[in-house]
């Protein structure tokens, strides 16, 4: 079938791509735009390894069609560090050992950032509620949740 010509903004840069209707946004990011930080875990919306934001809203890129990106602003894990300077969440995940194999980590970081962009004083319950769509098979979550709480406290200057 005919390819779609899609114009969107990815990590602040204007981007154009051609996509088949059945290609997902995750396929486009990884295979065409070489943004391989977003991972494919389940491909069915369960694990959150593919978390990105579209117009500021957290979504699973595996459940978005590439063609839907037309005119939208997409942000991925690649936009988190500034040059060599890690985002405070990335730094804290390293310090607190909030990752083991690391497969879930980009998704958790994108999701946690989207929470802290809205609410810099979340309760533990709010952090767990917000991150419920991100699964980790290694860490047991406590270190991840603690890291997010700690970064929020630092952002508030505590």
């Amino acid at each position: 079938m005919s390819k779609h010509h899609v114009t969107s903004t990815v990590n602040g840069e204007p981007v154009e791509f051609l996509c088949e209707p059945q290609e997902t946004l995750l396929d486009i990011l990884r295979d065409q735009l070489d943004l391989t930080g977003s991972k494919e875990g389940c491909s069915s919306g369960d694990c959150g390894a593919c978390s990105v934001t579209i117009d500021g809203r957290l979504v699973c890129a595996c459940l978005v069609l590439g063609a839907e990106a037309e005119g939208r602003k997409i942000e991925t894990i690649e936009n988190m560090a500034e040059g060599d300077t890690l985002h405070p969440l990335q730094q804290k995940f390293l310090e607190e050992a909030a990752l083991q194999c690391g497969f879930c980590t980009p998704g958790f970081l994108v999701a946690a950032k989207s929470l802290l962009d809205r609410n810099d004083n979340p309760t533990e319950t709010e952090v767990r509620y917000w991150l419920a769509g991100n699964l980790c098979r290694c860490t047991g979550y406590d270190k991840i949740v603690k890291s997010v709480m700690d970064v929020a406290a630092e952002m508030r200057g505590e």
């Binding site: 779609h4 209707p21 069609l65 999701a111 509620y129 769509g133």
Partner: protein, 268 residues
């Protein structure tokens, strides 16, 4: 996924036209069920018709006696709407506990009810509140809308546009959720309109239904103790790796009791 043509009609009429003329069309709302279905090759549409740009489907209108929600409103928008939280907290709470944040940012009211998953949450609210579904062709009472497992009264070229929820005196929804997906293993929506009580059950059977003996008992006495001696039959209830019919039957009673308690405390 199989190959298909992707369309983004700019009007309800154009969307309905695609449904009438394409060989094997499928509507798409947020894709949260549709895309996984295509990936599993359970469907192979010739044409996917995305409702994202059809005007008028993203609206909330809250009046004293009625909350109207557009078909393309996401679960996140319903959950976070201050007007819905104030007028119908049970509905806002239900929407806020569907799946997870990612799914709530894309999944829609229209997609959820058109799909009629036996474990979905919204069908319980529509039946529990006696809602009215508006479509591109007509109005359908919720009691006539959900017909069987994954089946609804919608015609092939019919599009859900909005749902009107009457505002009750008291209401609450309680679910025992699957810990991974958060779909309802059993969910019960209880609503009281004056002397009329409705009790809708999702997750337990192949399709959402009203539990008549609960409605009668709660009409006589709207209190948790009215349900204490009730036995719910497991006949015909769902069974899966997670829960068998007897377990689900017991959950119906427990969730209903909790919903009555919550409704008396102001809903949620």
């Amino acid at each position: 996924m199989h190959d298909f043509a992707y369309h983004r009609p700019q009007s309800l009429e154009d969307a309905a036209n695609f449904l009438r003329t394409a060989e094997d069309p499928l509507l798409m709302a947020g894709g949260q069920t549709m895309i996984p279905t295509l990936k599993q090759r359970l469907a192979a549409p010739s044409d996917v018709i995305d409702l994202a740009e059809v005007p008028g489907l993203v609206m909330i209108d809250v009046k004293k006696a009625q909350v109207s929600v557009g078909a393309m409103l996401t679960h996140a928008s319903v959950a976070s709407s201050p007007e819905v939280q104030a007028a119908l907290p049970a509905l806002a709470g239900l929407a806020g506990n569907i799946g997870d944040m990612h799914v709530r940012n894309r999944g829609t009211l229209g997609g959820s009810i058109a799909n009629n998953d036996p474990a979905a949450d919204y069908p319980a609210a529509l039946i529990g509140l006696g809602a009215t579904v508006h479509t591109s062709k007509r109005q359908i009472a919720a009691d006539d809308f959900f017909t069987a497992l994954f089946e609804t009264a919608l015609a092939g070229d019919e599009i859900v546009t909005s749902v009107d929820f009457p505002v009750p005196e008291l209401a609450a929804y309680m679910k025992f959720d699957h810990p991974a997906s958060r779909y309802a293993v059993v969910g019960v929506f209880i609503a009281k309109f004056g002397t009329d009580v409705r009790a809708a059950v999702t997750g337990a059977g192949p399709c959402v239904y009203r539990e008549a003996q609960m409605e009668e008992a709660l009409t006589r006495d709207f209190s948790p103790s009215a349900l204490a001696d009730m036995t719910i039959s497991p006949d015909g209830m769902n069974t899966d790796l997670y829960a068998g019919p007897e377990y689900r039957a017991n959950l119906v009673k427990i969730m209903a009791t909790r919903a009555v308690e919550a409704a008396l405390k102001g809903g949620g």
